[in-house]
């Protein structure tokens, strides 16, 4: 009976820990996939992977950066799958309802989609989550110098992708 209690408690505790981050995690997924259903699915899959591999997390206090890393992996999986499955599908939003999206936002989406995944994850964590380079380095388990390089390269790629729209926004 005691064993059962402990097991149940572990599930609940894990739920609590992940749930405290649910909007942040969902937000990151949404920033990648821009679709409610896909973002929820990725949150579910990342939770599943984290739950299965939870014993490998040496420091439970670092659950959040670890979860973010898994979630970003799942997002990249989904983007690859989507690219392969839907090559010519127009941009869509949840429920198939296209919002009245501004040109600027669509251009940004298009540009972000074409930024290398490893640079894009730094852009998301820095500009969406407002994280410092040190914090991003911890999440992605890379040296801070590498993160700084990726950030600069990401911004440069973004700039290049948006060239041509430049008069509109940079002026």
């Amino acid at each position: 009976m005691k064993g059962e209690d402990v097991h149940i408690s572990e599930e609940e505790l894990f739920f609590e820990q992940v749930s405290q981050q649910k909007r942040n995690l969902y937000g990151i997924a949404f920033s990648y996939l821009r679709n409610e259903a896909d973002a929820l699915e990725v949150l579910q899959e990342a939770t599943c992977r984290a739950w299965i591999k939870r014993k490998s997390l040496k420091d439970p206090e670092r659950l959040t950066p670890w979860m973010i890393r898994i979630l970003i992996n799942c997002c990249m999986d989904e983007l690859k799958r989507r690219k392969r499955k839907i090559t010519a599908e127009p941009q869509r939003f949840e429920g198939g309802v296209m919002e009245l999206a501004s040109d600027r936002r669509l251009d940004m989406e298009k540009a972000l989609d074409n930024v290398k995944p490893k640079y894009r994850q730094v852009l998301v964590l820095k500009y969406y989550r407002d994280m410092t380079l040190t914090q991003i380095a911890e999440v992605l388990e890379k040296p801070e110098g590498t993160i700084k390089t990726w950030l600069n390269k990401g911004l440069k790629q973004l700039r290049d992708k948006m060239k041509g729209k430049g008069d509109q926004y940079h002026g």
């Binding site: 505790l13 894990f14 749930s19 949404f30 920033s31 699915e41 739950w51 206090e61």
Partner: protein, 472 residues
């Protein structure tokens, strides 16, 4: 100076934040529960004690303490001989606790589908049947794994075949825990929550992904290990209306002088969806939880109890099982109490230098000397919740908002060492007297004028007083 791209990115992501904030806690919690459930490869047993850990970050939200102790039906009903489910009989072992589905099968309102995906990489998925309403769809699947290795099933989604948009998101898997993922045949049910209004929905494609359970496949960012199976099918849309009705209630539960408005109930094949409004102007308490909400069907000796579902812990909608065999009996929502705190007691005043609690709702809260990985600037508070006679479920929650005021009235924010959280919760410790949980708050190590005043967003304070509202 920020580059133009940086400003554009910030603007762009700000829009994303707004969008992400619009999603209900119900869907997010369901996704997390679904992930854990999928990963643990077992189902929750409704007969086990199920203790809700109160989430500090969600303290403003309302959720529900569920005993999970009663069976969904009174014993005399459980002893009735089961009716045959025909071709769905093979699913009986995995759906015995889902009263909505069980009664739908007995009422004959489950639509037979019987369509299989093509066989890919040794995997095949068959959609045997579905039952749907405008909120949700429950699907019965058979999965065949003809390989020699265990697999993980995931990625359950529904696409609208005509517009190629996602129509439904799997929120809950219940799988034959003995066989899941193993080579051979696995039976499972998946519940989907519809993305939006599903008027006109008809041609659908059910998708499922399969990944071998190997470490490299599980943590890989590549999809080379993943196989996607698709089953196209036609949903009989008249199902969405035929077996459901919306009842306007607009009555209030009145517990300890607090009003909780019950707006309406959607009584349908997959469940009973009750919309409530817990926040009322006249309420002197902040209500955080309802204690043991349930639906009573019928009255007197023949009354049945319909419990809240595994994913029905909503902030504004409670989801209960429905008995599809009983469309006429009196239906009553019963609540055994609330978790609430007088708004006047929400200030928590502490001198963190002398470790003295100056003002708290009661004497169950103490300062602890336990430590976290952050050595300095962490306030550790221990909450003791006494065990009540005959009760197996205890709530042991404490929530404090992320800002506080010092002795001179200046405001401060708590620190977020990992950028996201300013608090962590220790493992609850149980003994014969009750449960003790320690909560850690990163107030920071800066010397501040004392005392510090915190705002309690949640404080476990159950008030047991039963009230009922008639639904039909």
């Amino acid at each position: 100076m920020a580059e133009p791209e940086e400003n554009l990115l910030k603007d762009y992501f700000q829009n994303m934040i707004t969008k992400a904030d619009e999603l209900s806690d119900l869907k997010l919690d369901a996704a997390i529960h679904g992930g854990i459930l999928r990963g643990s490869r077992k189902r929750f047993s409704l007969n086990r004690g199920f203790t809700i850990v109160v989430l500090a970050a969600m303290a403003a939200a309302l959720f529900v303490i569920v005993p999970w102790l009663q069976s969904n039906f009174e014993p005399e009903h459980a002893q009735l001989p089961p009716k045959s489910w025909g071709e769905f009989e093979v699913f009986r072992p995995i759906i015995k606790d889902n009263i909505s589905l069980k009664s739908a099968l007995e009422a004959g309102i489950v639509q037979t589908i019987g369509v299989s995906s093509e066989e890919k990489d040794g995997y095949m998925l068959t959609l045997n049947g579905v039952v749907a309403d405008k909120k949700s769809m429950i699907a019965l699947y058979t999965f065949q794994n003809k390989t020699q290795h265990d697999v993980l099933l995931h990625g359950g989604s529904l696409d609208n075949a005509t517009s190629n948009t996602t129509s439904g998101q799997s929120s809950f898997f219940v799988i034959d825990s003995d066989n899941i993922g193993k080579p051979g045949v696995t039976r499972m049910l998946i519940q989907y929550m519809w993305s939006e209004d599903q008027e006109g929905l008809k041609e659908l494609v059910a998708n499922m992904s399969v990944t071998p359970q190997t470490p490299e496949a599980m943590l890989s960012s590549s999809d080379k290990y993943r196989t996607t199976l698709s089953v196209p099918f036609t949903l009989e849309t008249d199902q969405l209306q035929k077996n459901s009705r919306t009842v306007t209630v607009n009555r209030s539960l009145n517990i300890a002088g607090q009003k909780i408005v019950v707006e309406q109930a959607y009584i349908a094949a997959t469940g009973i969806y009750v919309d409530i409004i817990p926040y009322q102007k006249g309420n002197t308490m902040q209500i955080n939880s309802l204690i043991s909400p349930k639906i009573i069907l019928g009255k007197g000796k023949n009354a049945k109890v319909l419990n809240i579902t595994e994913h029905g812990l909503g902030t504004e909608t409670l989801i209960f099982y429905n008995d599809n065999l009983d469309k006429d009996s009196r239906m009553t929502l019963e609540v055994e109490g609330i978790e609430g705190l007088e708004k006047s007691k929400r200030d928590l005043v502490i001198n963190t230098e002398t470790s003295t609690i100056i003002k708290a709702p009661d004497n169950r809260l103490t300062i602890s000397d336990e430590k976290t990985v952050e050595k300095d600037g962490v306030l550790a508070l221990t909450l003791f919740t006494p065990k009540e006679e005959g009760k197996e479920s205890l709530s042991y929650g404490l929530g404090i908002s992320d800002n506080f005021v010092d002795g001179t009235g200046s405001g401060h924010f708590m620190f977020r060492p990992d950028h996201f959280t300013y608090s962590t919760t220790g493992e609850p410790r149980h003994d014969e007297k009750g449960s003790t949980t320690t909560f850690f708050f990163n107030v920071g190590s800066e010397k501040l004028p004392q005392p510090l005043t915190f705002n309690l967003t949640f404080y476990s304070n159950p008030i047991q007083e039963t009230d009922r509202v008639k639904i039909r």
